[in-house]
Point group: C2
Chain length 187, copies 2
């Protein structure tokens, strides 16, 4: 994850900054005024010189109404399809629980996709993941109860659930069997 970063931060910041500003359609002068910075500073940044302080970049991001990360992290991923049922069955089989890691997303955005299949009436406990982990669950068949151990939620096909993966959580089938897609963001 970290090894895909540009050698120097400026290589990504400079173009991103210019792009963001032009998207906003405002001049260097205007941005400087709004953000409370010197235009000279911004000029240097966009030209790839310097090494801005976090507060400086912060001010810019806030003014442009752009998330900080967009100025700091590389571009975007692209098209990717995952076919239902084509999950390479992979590790961590526990009982009949099968979690197939469908795709470890492209560098930069660390987002993994799992297709999980739960057998009848089984409960699966998951330990807390790393800080910043967010899980997105979309039920594709069956019914189940899932979510943080403290407050699991009953779900039907088409239902969507998101929760922080930082705490212990559970998946429990209510129907004969249930399948769901799980998008796990490590943010």
């Amino acid at each position: 994850m970290s090894d895909s970063r540009a050698a120097t931060a400026l290589e990504v910041i400079a173009p991103a900054l210019r792009h963001a500003r032009e998207d906003a359609g405002i001049s260097l002068n205007e941005l400087a005024k709004r953000a409370g910075l010197a235009k000279s500073t911004l000029s240097q940044l966009e030209s790839g010189a310097g090494n801005p302080s976090v507060e400086t970049l912060w001010a810019v991001a806030a003014t442009l109404e752009v998330p900080f990360s967009r100025l700091v992290e590389p571009p975007a991923p692209h098209v990717k399809v995952i076919r239902s049922g084509r999950a390479p069955k992979l590790g961590s089989e526990q009982g009949d629980f099968a979690a197939g890691l469908l795709s470890s997303c492209p560098a930069g955005a660390s987002r993994d996709l799992y297709e999980i299949t739960l057998p009848p009436e089984q409960e699966r406990h998951a330990e807390p993941h790393h800080r910043g982990t967010i899980e997105h669950l979309v039920v594709t068949s069956g019914t189940l109860r899932a979510g943080p151990a403290a407050e699991p939620v009953e779900l039907e096909p088409g239902d969507y659930l998101t929760f922080s993966g930082e705490v212990a959580h559970v998946y429990r089938t209510l129907s004969r069997q249930a399948t769901a897609l799980l998008i796990m963001e490590h943010k």
Copy 2:
């Protein structure tokens, strides 16, 4: 989106940094050595003083193998459920196309969730969204062809598709009707 930021960047960086380092289980000394920084610098940062340069923070993030944004952006959201079919029908109806904005996610992480329903044999064109927008699509019923206008993909229930929303894209029903969940990240 921007108004939920902390007043000063350090208010979020300082604790995040300490947390991340302790998670990694290494000492200030060790981190300094690995990241090629002075321990004094790190000490001050964790104590909430100063205003680090981007490259400095960058080095820390890379060394801790933590995405830059985690050091800079606030914590995480929490549990949220969306029931299938409970979509408040909302604006942008085009023909029989119905896109219900199910939930505009909590401040910080800007992630919107839509449930979209497409009538038979209809094609829906979507203009490019803002830079950094990523779409995640999970088909819950029916079959459709979706994705960037240049290379749409055929999808069945349970299939997952992700693509950059920065370019024009399309949704076209192949079956009688199709429904899908759409997670839209503005990142």
